[in-house]
């Protein structure tokens, strides 16, 4: 197990370095260098001042020196200052938004599992039934559904036509401070229903399909035939023998589905006006706020990597075959 952990950890470090190198190279894609949004079209910035900025950000040094400096910075969570008017440190801006995005994504991941596992298992057990067909239809519509359109349609039906749900923000702005705890929770819930629906529907397709097919395969295998031949009740065969084997690889699938889920945050946070990192990313791109963009890109991919790493370890803990294999 220790050898396995060490090997995985080494891979983690190498991949992390790769992420920093790619993020860093993107900064230098900018025509005119990373300072161009600050200096271009700004008559107040004289060539001398520009020179000073270049010195300040160390842009006159060779690339590897700059990379090293940037790398040392991010270890201390120092991503520089935002180019926006407030010029706040980038990390402060991200810090206050990260919990919102993580909360919504964790919740939608939980909902995905809550729906996908029973639905997928039932479809596999009743393969080719009407229920199974419905599952297939849900899967494909989920694959093809543009999430931003789904968001707009939900807004139109529940926000505008029926007026049941608010269409923007994380909580009400007027009268929020006067609410008691119960009212606040209810207020949050109402605001989160639509965004959560969009996030969950987007991620559901892949997981649902995986559960269904995995269970279907396992049910056809020899040991299930044997369990049935032994005369075990169908309930035990399905829920004890088959389910365990079918769901094990799901840990890895969940790890792999993290980038997609987090990527979806950009869309639903922008549409529903939710103050998370996805919305921050979009705003930063529109304003060409490069330090914020880079920090966001790096942090999100770092979290994805971490999620994959934990999934790998979880899988190895749950399934001894994996850790023995990699020795």
């Amino acid at each position: 197990m220790i050898a396995f952990l060490l090997k995985r950890f080494l891979t983690l470090i190498i991949t992390l370095l790769g992420i920093t190198i790619i993020s860093f190279s993107i900064i230098h894609l900018a025509p005119g260098g990373p300072l161009s949004p600050l200096t271009e079209f700004n008559p107040k910035i004289t060539p001398e001042y520009r020179e000073k900025l270049v010195k300040m950000y160390g842009l006159d040094k060779p690339l590897y020196v700059q990379y090293w400096k940037w790398l040392k910075g991010i270890i201390k969570l120092d991503f520089g200052r935002s180019f926006s008017l407030d010029q706040r440190p980038v990390w402060d801006k991200i810090k206050e938004r990260l919990p919102v995005t993580l909360f919504i994504n964790a919740l939608s991941l939980f909902l995905i599992l809550l729906i996908a596992i029973p639905m997928g298992v039932y479809s596999a057990v009743k393969a080719e039934s009407a229920f199974d067909r419905i599952t297939t239809v849900v899967t494909f519509i989920g694959y093809a559904m543009p999430s931003f359109w789904l968001a707009i349609i939900l807004m139109m039906i529940f926000g505008v036509k029926l007026q049941w749900l608010p269409i923007s923000g994380l909580h009400s702005t007027i009268g929020y401070d006067e609410m008691n705890l119960f009212q606040k929770v209810w207020d949050w819930t109402k605001h989160l229903i639509c965004p959560l629906f969009v996030a969950t529907f987007g991620g559901l397709a892949g997981v649902l399909r995986y559960v269904r097919n995995s269970m279907y395969e396992v049910l056809k295998s020899d040991f299930i035939l044997f369990a049935r031949a032994k005369g075990l009740p169908e309930r035990v065969v399905i829920y004890k023998h088959a389910l365990r084997n079918a769901l094990l690889p799901l840990i890895t699938i969940l790890g792999l589905s993290i980038p997609g889920l987090v990527g979806g945050s950009v869309i639903f946070e922008t549409i529903f006006g939710i103050p998370g990192v996805g919305q921050l990313m979009w705003q930063a791109v529109m304003a060409r706020d490069y330090p914020v963009i880079m920090a966001n890109l790096f942090l999100i991919s770092f979290l994805t990597l971490l999620g994959n790493f934990l999934a790998d370890i979880g899988y190895a803990l749950a399934d001894p075959r994996i850790r023995l294999e990699s020795k």
Binding site: P31, Y143, M145, F148, I152, V160, N213, G260, V266, V285
Partner: protein, 277 residues
């Protein structure tokens, strides 16, 4: 190729997706003849008209005919997705066959690079890159292509790895065939079926990404119509003009569904051993 088409038509779902895609291609190719109005023509007397016989899908904020704009938009979507998928398949085949055939350190480096690329949520990566470039149709094609090749690369790598030790490769080498000849003439054709499947799925995904980017304001720029950027107006006029949001979204959904289902059917037809739904 003809047999493949025959097989596809036998499948109900494959046939339906082919018909949808065919209609779309015809609309895109003959947009100037098929669209009832000029998609760029502003008409202040006909702002935000609901669907009617005269304007089957209504008009937008500037009085332009939505149907005509949507027909022209199908051009953009198909163009962008075709070029993007072409790029991603090109990169994928190139890196995948290098890694699979050469193995060793080259394979290590390429495989690690693929893992690294997969850590970036695609939309974040695309946003970051686009922030540094001017948003244009060409930029989007390249960026989508350059961020979606990893799946193909893995497929090709695995396929070539499993084939390169076979006898027919050895014989080709004995006859003096070079590395590139072996890869392109003897190994790659075997990897083609799965690549074809992932191209079809990729076309759908590329259309989804393009429309999402256009909706976010960093993809296809107005006045050039795209299903995504018509939806920007749709979101602004949510309360008064449902037709501006409903139709473009449906177009995206149906198109992506068609490419996805075509991909699925292809997989079933090309590889009947595997159970696919």
């Amino acid at each position: 190729m003809r047999e493949l088409l025959k097989e596809l038509i036998k499948h109900k779902i494959g046939c339906a997706s082919l018909i949808v895609i065919f209609i779309l291609v015809v609309l895109a190719l003959f947009a100037p003849y098929l669209s009832p109005y000029d998609p760029f023509e502003i008409n202040v007397n006909e702002i935000l008209l609901p669907p009617s016989l005269k304007h089957p899908l209504g008009t937008d904020l500037l009085g332009r005919d939505v149907l005509s704009r949507m027909i022209y938009a199908s051009r953009i979507s198909l163009e962008v997705s075709l070029v993007a998928v072409g790029i991603s398949i090109g990169i994928g085949i190139f890196l995948g066959s290098l890694a699979g055939y050469l193995g060793g350190i080259v394979d290590q480096i390429i495989s690690r690079f693929i893992d690294i690329m997969l850590c970036f949520p695609t939309i974040f990566l695309i946003l970051a890159v686009i922030a540094y470039l001017e948003p244009s149709i060409l930029t989007i094609m390249i960026v989508i292509g350059a961020t979606s090749w990893m799946g193909v690369a893995r497929l090709v790598r695995a396929e070539i790895m499993s084939l390169k030790e076979r006898d027919f490769v050895l014989i080709a080498r004995v006859y003096g065939a070079g590395t590139f000849r072996i890869i392109f003439r003897h190994l790659l054709p075997n990897a083609l079926p799965p690549v074809l499947v992932s191209a079809s799925l990729g076309l759908g995904q590329a259309i989804l990404i393009e429309s999402a980017l256009s909706f976010l304001g960093i993809g296809v720029q107005p006045p050039i119509p795209s299903w995504g950027n018509i939806l920007i107006e749709g979101k602004e006029t949510l309360e008064i003009a449902w037709w501006l949001s409903v139709f473009p979204g449906l177009a995206i959904l149906i198109t992506v569904l068609a490419f996805t289902l075509l991909g699925e059917t292809l997989q079933e037809v090309l590889n009947p051993k595997r159970e696919i739904r």
